[in-house]
């Protein structure tokens, strides 16, 4: 099984409170916040590793990201991935999901054969959840979204359980295919010291736009059908009447408010 796991290193959510919005330039100030692999990235990688352990093969991990994301790919190699691919180029900056999926598809196209692509259902920061399906479209392979269990791979088909609002579906999909995974699928393994050591000698390729044969108009801000305009902080403040003191008295106030709400 040739597996490709696509990840999206994003600014560490624990530090999101320090993201500032410059009120004049409307630019997001996020310098100094390190990028991390998201929990869904790790689950995608973990699933790839489990499938490799069960059926044999190899796991390549890939990200379209700034050069600093190299550390995140090394972490993925330490977890057990066999090869890393960092797609990095100034020209990729500002790409929306369409342009990102295009870049990933070109890179995967460079590989030759593959059997399964695994992505997290959505990224930490943009959280659109669209890249998986769009990448599958560009590679013209079938996809399954929101997979929480890979049940069986046999005779070139994949059996999965995937979530819908009212329950779940069991699908059978011919390979090659792409799946996006959600939290419930597995618990990612920790990296071992041995893994960290071994990671250093695993191949980690860096590919630029020209390596992929992509011209600047197709990607980045230029190539993205969606453009970000205004960025602003949401207004959600209400004038809270604050209570403290004797529970008995507070309860009477609360009941008064409840009546008000239901009137």
């Amino acid at each position: 099984m040739n597996i490709v796991v696509c990840v999206k290193p994003a600014p560490d959510p624990k530090r999101w409170d320090s993201i500032q919005l410059d009120p004049i330039t409307k630019a997001l100030q996020r310098e100094g916040i390190p990028s991390v692999l998201g929990p869904l990235d790790k689950r995608a990688l973990e699933e790839g590793l489990r499938i490799k352990e069960k059926y044999g093969g190899k796991v390549a991990v890939m990200a379209m990201a700034p050069p600093s994301a190299k550390d995140n790919l090394v972490e993925a190699l330490a977890m057990g991935a066999d090869e890393g691919y960092l797609l990095t180029d100034r020209a990729f900056a500002g790409s929306d999901t369409w342009a990102t999926s295009l870049v990933l598809s070109k890179a995967i196209g460079n590989f030759g054969t593959f059997d399964l692509i695994i992505c997290g259902s959505y990224s930490l920061d943009g959280s659109t959840g669209h890249v998986g399906a769009q990448l599958a479209e560009f590679l013209s392979i079938p996809n399954v979204s929101q997979v929480f269990a890979v049940e069986r791979i046999e005779m070139g088909t994949l059996r999965t359980k995937s979530l819908i609002e009212s329950g779940y579906r069991v699908l059978e999909t011919p390979l090659p295919a792409l799946i996006t995974v959600i939290r419930e699928i597995n618990t990612p393994r920790f990296t071992s010291l041995l893994g960290v050591i071994e990671a250093e000698s695993k191949p980690l390729m860096k590919w630029s736009a020209s390596d992929l044969g992509i011209s600047p108009e197709e990607i980045g801000l230029q190539g993205s059908p969606t453009q970000t305009g205004d960025v602003f902080l949401p207004e959600m403040k209400r004038r809270a009447e604050m209570l403290s003191g004797e529970p008995g008295e507070m309860v009477q106030e609360i009941i008064r408010k409840i009546r008000q709400a239901l009137a």
Binding site: W98, T128, S140, G167, T228
Partner: protein, 378 residues
């Protein structure tokens, strides 16, 4: 924007183990496609999600927003409905304000499947050229929207919390980023249709009226390669007794609820108010609530008459789901908890002390707080 692209794809797709260097072919095709002549693209579309012959509520919510946009664009609203034996749903959609329902029926469309649905809809987009296309931000809706947007080479925004038409006549899409810490405005200036997904509960559905719209049956192109993925089983869970997005009262618990015994207070308060139980991610992880009871950016958006948050700190990912509640009461022992910025009434206290008295007082009450007041919306 033509069908030649799909016929290139069907050659080598789905052949197991064959090399996939067709992405080069696709890319060349995409770049040669001229940008659309925007003036030719008219009409506001909504994809109606249906399951087992029932319209998902979100379809009607989007239909309502589509009418608002259509007025501004002086355009018609068309709803796209796929399935088998769903004509009565088309009638319902007309009653809720669709000018037209494009109805595609075929046995293979009875259950949602990505490739057959994507093909019917992409073909229709290419032929009819809508200006705007809204889809539910549900599991299936998002999957479909993403696939279609890629196929027809256009932009797609996710989980819009607001939609409007700007001065240039463009669709202004407002989406949360960084867990909702910031809101971003998205435009799709040069590509059509402008596509957006919206989660259930964000917009309100309108009233049903007698309407004179029409149903237009569309031809369904079925390709064998689209049918190779099979839906083997569909399992539906029991609907909770009170779906939180339908309840007038929602009592939610968060990380501040230490253990299962304490959680029972959340449930008791909800019960005495005849309301629904909701929560944030930590209770979900503990197994005290199910996925459809989680409130927030990646969960449900609710707008009850009364929301009571207990042991909830109020991170942005959660409060975006409650900001339209009529009255918000927050109980938290930490006076600096962010939830107090969003509440109408803030109670700084250990919830254990408060809830035992509150529940007792409410149970004693024979007044109109209980029973028929806190009912489900029709």
């Amino acid at each position: 924007m033509d069908n030649n692209k799909t016929s290139i794809i069907s050659d080598s797709s789905l052949h197991n183990g064959q090399p996939h260097d067709i992405s080069r072919a696709i890319s060349a095709e995409i770049c040669e496609n001229p940008r659309p002549n925007l003036k030719e693209w008219k009409g506001i579309w909504v994809f109606a999600e249906q399951e087992e012959g029932c319209l998902a509520e979100v379809s009607l919510e989007l239909l309502s927003m589509a009418q608002f946009l259509a007025k501004k664009r002086r355009a018609e609203v068309s709803v796209i409905l796929l399935g088998d034996g769903v004509e009565s749903l088309a009638e319902q959609l007309l009653a809720y304000g669709a000018d037209r329902v494009f109805l595609a029926e075929h046995p293979t469309l009875k259950r949602y499947s990505t490739l057959p649905y994507a093909r019917v809809i992409s073909n229709l987009i290419t032929e009819i050229k809508p200006e705007i296309f809204l889809l539910p931000g549900t599991s299936l809706g998002s999957d479909l929207a993403a696939r279609v947007a890629a196929r027809v080479n256009t932009g797609l925004s996710a989980h819009c919390t607001n939609l409007d038409i700007n001065d240039k006549g463009e669709l202004r899409q407002v989406v949360p980023a960084f867990g909702g810490k910031v809101m971003a405005t998205i435009l799709c200036p040069k590509h059509r249709p402008q596509m957006a997904t919206v989660r259930p509960g964000v917009f309100r559905k309108g009233e049903a009226q007698k309407k004179r719209g029409m149903i237009e049956r569309v031809p369904v192109e079925i390709r064998p390669e689209d049918l190779k993925q099979k839906v083997l089983e569909v399992h539906r869970g029991k609907r909770p007794a009170r779906a939180i997005e339908e309840a007038d009262v929602v009592v939610a618990g968060g990380a501040g609820i230490g253990d299962k015994d304490d959680w029972k207070w959340v449930e008791r308060l909800a019960e005495v108010l005849n309301g629904a139980v909701g929560g944030t991610r930590p209770p979900l992880d503990e197994g005290w609530i199910s996925e459809d009871q989680m409130i927030g950016q990646s969960g449900k958006t609710i707008r009850p008459k009364l929301y009571i948050g207990i042991g909830i700190s109020g991170v942005i990912q959660h409060v975006v789901g409650i900001q339209d509640a009529k009255v918000i009461i927050a109980i938290n022992h930490d006076p600096k908890a962010a939830i107090f910025q969003t509440a109408d009434l803030g109670v700084v206290s250990d919830f254990r002390k408060i809830l035992s008295i509150l529940v007792e007082e409410l149970e004693k009450s024979t007044s109109s707080i209980r029973g028929d007041r806190a009912t489900l919306r029709p």
